[in-house]
């Protein structure tokens, strides 16, 4: 039992960035917007959070900076996809490419520098606790509140929502900003708590895994939480196996999270009816009101 608790704690810390970014993206997709820029928003959050903590000495200001950076990238994404009605897939890719480059440029002086790590109690810090609250809050918001119903209406049929007088574009802007804040926060968790240092490209595809988790969870917050923990468990299992040195190449174990993601996507996507019933019907479709 005593050996189990540290393992459980490492699973929690490995899952937390996925929960944070995944829940944010889940709400964005519920509003009908496909944001493939999660990875870029996340890494900008990581570098901004680290930079702010390094300059001011406060990891809490770091958290605020990572949220702000995620939201700034989200605003850019929103301006293109919502105001200018650009292709969401391509724009998301642009955000990711830009985020990876810009974070490398900004982060150059921070490489190898130390910061004050976010305080934690045996690995549990405020962001871990917050990730649970976030999942609960978003679940309640989407399925128990009137505003959440409007968000889902906008995501399922933007034309009808518009006809009923709901401000489709404004709802989507708010959702995208919320998603950006969550992705930035997830990045901040990586650079302020998980590995408290700045490494170029440190998100290593976690933003993309969060995107896959949203599909895996069929757009339901509690399932996303469960999926993220399952995922965390598998990646930690890989590291544990590695320490026993069974002659398995380390690269194979590092590849495991990506392979698991593919397998999970395949399993969940096979059942097309179930998936179609849950997918926001207007996901990825730009909305331009007729005037």
């Amino acid at each position: 039992m005593d050996a189990l608790i540290p393992i459980l704690l490492t699973i929690v810390t490995a899952a937390t960035p996925l929960v944070l970014a995944g829940i944010g993206e889940l709400l964005v997709e519920r509003a009908g917007v496909l944001n493939l820029g999660v990875e870029g928003m996340m890494i900008m959050g990581a570098v901004a959070g680290f930079g702010a903590a390094f300059v001011t000495g406060s990891p809490y200001l770091g958290i605020l900076a990572s949220i702000a950076a995620g939201m700034a990238m989200a605003l850019l994404f929103g301006f293109l996809t919502l105001t200018l009605a650009t292709n969401q897939t391509a724009t998301g890719l642009a955000i990711t490419l830009l985020g990876l480059g810009l974070s490398g440029l900004i982060g150059k002086p921070f490489t190898g520098q130390p910061i004050t790590r976010l305080p934690n109690w045996d690995g549990i810090d405020i962001l871990v606790v917050f990730s649970f609250l976030l999942a609960g809050a978003v679940s309640w918001f989407l399925f128990r509140s009137r505003a959440g119903l409007i968000v889902r209406a906008v995501g399922d049929n933007h034309t009808s929502a518009h006809t009923l007088g709901y401000p489709v574009i404004r709802v989507r802007y708010l959702a995208v900003l919320f998603g950006g804040a969550c992705a930035g926060l997830a990045g901040g968790y990586l650079s302020l708590s998980y590995t408290p240092q700045w490494i170029e490209g440190m998100t290593a595809g976690k933003g993309w895994i969060a995107l896959a988790l949203v599909v895996f969870a069929s757009w339901r917050p509690w399932r996303l939480l469960a999926g993220a923990y399952l995922f965390g468990a598998i990646s930690i299992l890989a590291f544990t196996v590695q320490t026993f040195a069974l002659g398995i190449p380390s690269q194979l174990l590092s590849a495991l999270p990506y392979i698991v993601t593919i397998v999970a996507l395949v399993i969940i996507s096979r059942n097309r009816l179930m998936l179609r019933a849950n997918t926001p019907a207007c996901l990825g479709r730009p909305f331009v009101p007729d005037r």
Binding site: L36, L80, A90, L100, L102, A212, L252, I262
Partner: protein, 350 residues
């Protein structure tokens, strides 16, 4: 508030003016970034965009760099036209490089024209097979190809890393993660810096131009991309199209990978992350998803690589500035493309 007004028909002028406007805006943004980095903007822009073109040797290098971008970019242009989102070309590129590199490691004595052909074909095969995975997963299980093709980039990068540090490593390389150097017929013929890959890129672009513009297949892919429902009524198979575009783009990315290791590095070495597969996404869009347009876009993005190196060497700016310029360029292209379908008006509230 900005509002969009739908045009009656696509604006042909903006179809080609938009990338030019995007380029101008990127240069302006680039000047601002240089100023923020403490470099005189004009000097910075000159170093980045003009100085790499000044002597003949650099111009050869530009064409050599453009070759993989055009090879991958034309394949992706075909994919995106059909509304199929292969974003894992980087992985297919590495798979092609890895498979081609097996030959010199295991058959170092094989020295005649056939070895070159076999290596190039293995490169094509590597990219093709790696691209078939996301295609099959989409057709058979409806798994989102964006996510699967991207995940496979990480997987193949790790497989490559394992191979080059393990079984393929040259035992005489002092523990450096490198294979033996390719030799003789295992190296692509080159004219200065320009290797045979540039020729393949040109041929691929011309062939795909004919396929997309003059042949039924091109019409089928465009139909499936722009109105899948109508295309299905016309009897076009979506499944076949998904396999087709993944096969084409994967094979070309694999060929580009084989050409890169046979023509430039002339051995496999780790780490190997040239990012051509991701930059080629920008190339495809900048080239209007048109194979001929992709040639020009490839040259421009090749310039951005070289500008990044020049900025690093003579201005002391991180070469990440190249990625920033590439990202910003894609943004401006997408934003300016709005003008093709819409008029943009400013309207006060109320």
């Amino acid at each position: 508030m900005l509002i969009l007004e739908r045009r009656v028909e696509r604006a042909r002028l903006w179809m080609w003016a938009s990338p030019v406007l995007a380029l101008v805006l990127t240069i302006i943004a680039g000047g601002i970034i240089f100023a923020l980095a403490g470099v005189d903007p004009l000097h910075g822009l000159y170093t980045y965009f003009i100085s790499p073109l000044m002597d003949g040797w650099d111009r050869e290098k530009l064409i050599a760099k453009a070759a993989p971008l055009v090879l991958i970019g034309v394949g992706l242009a075909v994919c995106y036209t059909a509304n199929v989102w292969n974003i894992g070309a980087e992985g297919q590129f590495v798979a092609g490089a890895l498979l081609a590199g097996l030959v010199p490691v295991y058959f170092s004595g094989w020295q005649d024209a056939s070895v070159m052909a076999v290596m190039l074909l293995l490169g094509v095969l590597g990219g093709l097979l790696w691209a078939m995975i996301p295609a099959a997963l989409r057709v058979r299980f409806h798994a989102n190809e964006i996510l699967t093709s991207l995940m496979l980039v990480y997987v193949v990068r790790l497989a490559y890393d394992w191979a080059v540090r393990g079984p393929l490593r040259d035992p005489h390389a002092m523990n450096f993660p490198k294979t033996v150097r390719f030799d003789g017929w295992q190296v692509l013929p080159a004219w200065g810096e320009i290797h045979l890959g540039a020729f393949f890129a040109l041929v691929a672009a011309l062939v795909l131009y004919v396929v997309m513009v003059k042949m039924l297949k091109g019409f089928e892919l465009r139909a499936l991309g722009s109105s899948p429902r109508a295309a299905r009524f016309a009897g076009f198979s979506e499944h076949r199209a998904v396999y087709f575009v993944f096969a084409v783009s994967g094979a070309l990315a694999g060929l580009a990978g084989a050409c890169d290791v046979m023509g430039v590095s002339r051995q496999l070495q780790a780490p190997y992350e040239p990012n051509y597969g991701f930059v080629a996404i920008i190339v495809a869009f900048l080239g209007r998803l048109n194979p001929i347009g992709v040639i020009f876009a490839g040259l421009l993005l090749a310039l951005s690589y070289m500008g990044g190196e020049a900025a690093k060497v003579s201005l002391g700016v991180s070469d990440n500035i190249a990625k920033v310029f590439q990202g910003i360029l894609l943004f401006f292209i997408l934003a300016c493309d709005t003008l093709i379908l819409y008029r943009i008006r400013w309207q006060g509230r109320g």
